[in-house]
Symmetry: C2
Subunit: 281 residues, 2 copies
């Protein structure tokens, strides 16, 4: 496994791989790897000749400085996990290399980023699409892999890749969960013991929404109210949002028709977690 | 010469050329070709194996609907000129193919677009950088060619390509002028006879600025005042802006030190023309 910590050296390596006709699978991460990331790697290995993973905590996608500073990092541990999962190249650039003095260019997906996390974290998705556009420029993957946990991010990145004619296939893979249903996230490490216990309610609330729809409930407000009641029952939980939206344009639905994305963001103490489920009416 | 009018067919062709190891030179245009465009083609032919030219009047870079509607078009004539200059591929997509329903992604270079044309044409550069990012995604050139006439556009696109790690060399070639010094522009066709005569003053004013700097004048305001006086002497002229700015960050200079860009935009009747010169103190 190669570890490349500069853009210029990564570009040289990618040029060689392209010349050799190798297909490139790409898993962009912010590190502190968990089974969610590793499942992306394992799938990428089945599809492509070379799997590149980036580890870069992208400062411009954090709306709160505190969140950026607290974001967990452990490169040595990540390196071991990546190697075991079969990553061929770790791309690990510095902030200064990615955003040198005079940096000025931003990619933004309008509309889709007005809802859900976009309204509670202004500027977040602009930071995400910008860094992903840069990483795509450097790594030039044939296929890039993202997790369904960041449902809105997945939709926004697909839109960006299509709109900017990037000629990169975007694959979205299922959420990987802990035994009690909590979606795996690098942020889970920041939870205290009681917060960690309470956080299991998120998946229970999402399963409740799924069950209600299965039973015939179509009123989004009623579904959300029941989810709210469950989450508010946990002492350390503070709801950021619970929304039921169209899976394509992310616009809020008042009546659940066909396919809907039930998505939520909830603080447990200072840690903000997100999760979601797709339900079919 | 191939004429390709769909993105999907262009992508197939580019993939074949890349596989054959051909280098691609790219000249993006809005058509109504003149010697300025053709000089880009002739240079591209010296550097690269295949020269692709796009002809696309990009609606999202026009701030005034009238300007978009009046923008001159003559594909048949362009086709002949392109063929004679040695273009290998004309890429001629439709608006619907470039911006289908649901289109949402925009690329923006912040800061650099606050000055000069950016302040008098809000949204213009966002439209330019977005379409160029798309065209780069489709055509995947090794080198792309732009004219110095659009000085700010050239600087903004260089910035975008660097910032987004596009791995495309951006070459900026000199302004091509008519005998009386008027910079070649597709818009010149919209000038009435008296407007066309008056428009020669632009180059005279720029040469005046150059001469003043050569004589030792360093006060930007004084230089601009003399240019204004010359242009205001023409009946059909109405100044949009005259600015002396830093060639790197485009910030206005009050004192001309080292290298400066003297840039102007002037309406003759309803037609807005731009021109510029680089002066060295």
């Amino acid at each position: 496994m190669k570890i490349i910590d500069s853009i210029s050296r990564m570009s040289v390596l990618i040029k060689i791989l392209k010349k050799e006709g190798k297909s490139i699978g790409f898993v962009p991460t912010m590190g502190y790897l968990h089974e969610g990331h590793l499942s992306l790697v394992r799938t990428a290995k089945k599809h492509t000749d070379v799997v590149a993973m980036s580890i870069f905590v992208n400062p411009i996608q954090f709306d709160r400085r505190e969140d950026l500073e607290k974001y967990p990092r452990d490169f040595k541990h990540d390196e071991g996990l990546a190697r075991d999962a079969g990553v061929d190249i770790i791309f690990y650039p510095s902030v200064k290399d990615m955003y040198p003095d005079g940096y000025s260019t931003y990619v933004n997906v309008e509309g889709l980023t007005d809802y859900l996390c976009g309204s509670s974290r202004p500027g977040h998705f602009k930071g995400v699409t910008t860094v992903v556009a840069k990483l795509f420029g450097i790594v030039k993957p044939d296929i890039a892999y993202f997790g369904q946990k960041d449902a809105q991010q997945a939709i926004v990145i697909k839109r960006m890749a299509t709109d900017l004619n990037m000629d990169i296939e975007i694959k979205i893979l299922p959420i990987i969960r802990e035994k009690d249903g909590l979606a795996m996230s690098s942020r889970n490490i920041n939870l205290s013991e009681p917060e960690r216990k309470d956080a299991a309610v998120l998946f229970q609330a999402l399963k409740k929404a799924e069950a209600l729809v299965k039973e015939g409930e179509r009123d989004a407000k009623k579904i959300i109210r029941q989810m709210e009641a469950m989450i508010k029952g946990k002492e350390t939980a503070k709801i950021d949002y619970i929304s039921i939206v169209d899976t394509k344009d992310l616009k809020p639905m008042s009546t659940v028709l066909s396919e809907a994305l039930v998505a939520l963001a909830v603080f447990f103490g200072k840690t903000r977690l997100i999760d979601n489920i797709i339900v079919k009416a």
